[in-house]
Point group: C2
């Protein structure tokens, strides 16, 4: 928690909300991603695509998260080429889930 009692997830959400969202990206706050030991987490998901969950994030990562989300939104199956993923996505993946077919 911050000195003002704000939770890290709320601060990350605030940082993401303050930015212009990339085309095709919507932002949705959730209470819990069941990744308690991994700090702040975000999930990327879309119909027909692989879903990803990333952890150990903070409000400082907002710009990089949005850059990665833009790549994901532009990619038909959600499998963004490795070199095009931001470093936080390459190193801080908690899990991914196949598309529902």
């Amino acid at each position: 928690m911050g000195a003002d009692g704000t939770r890290p997830g709320a601060r990350l959400y605030e940082a993401l909300s303050a930015a212009a969202l990339p085309e095709g990206v919507t932002l949705r706050p959730v209470e819990c991603l069941s990744a308690c030991s991994q700090g702040c987490a975000v999930a990327l998901s879309a119909p027909g695509k692989w879903s990803y969950v990333y952890g150990r994030l903070s409000a400082h990562d907002a710009a990089e998260i949005l850059a990665g989300a833009a790549r994901y939104a532009a990619c038909a199956d959600g499998l963004v080429p490795w070199r095009e993923r931001p470093e936080i996505f390459r190193k801080q993946s908690l899990a991914r889930i196949p598309p529902q077919e």
Copy 2:
């Protein structure tokens, strides 16, 4: 790897394949769930439901995984009441992802 070179994930898949699948449950092997540091992992997902990823599993957990999958299949939103989840699902969740709405 086992003495015969079989990977743990392949052994888990074999154990799950050998069992009778609960109603509404289908089994699909995947190459990678991006949870490298967490041993064998399984994901539960279905349209309109929360998706879950569990880790640190082995072939010995097959029966409990299938019991948990049966509860999940029978539950409209994927949010199985805590006490009805097998212990491995209560303690070994890596992440969950909200339904795509």
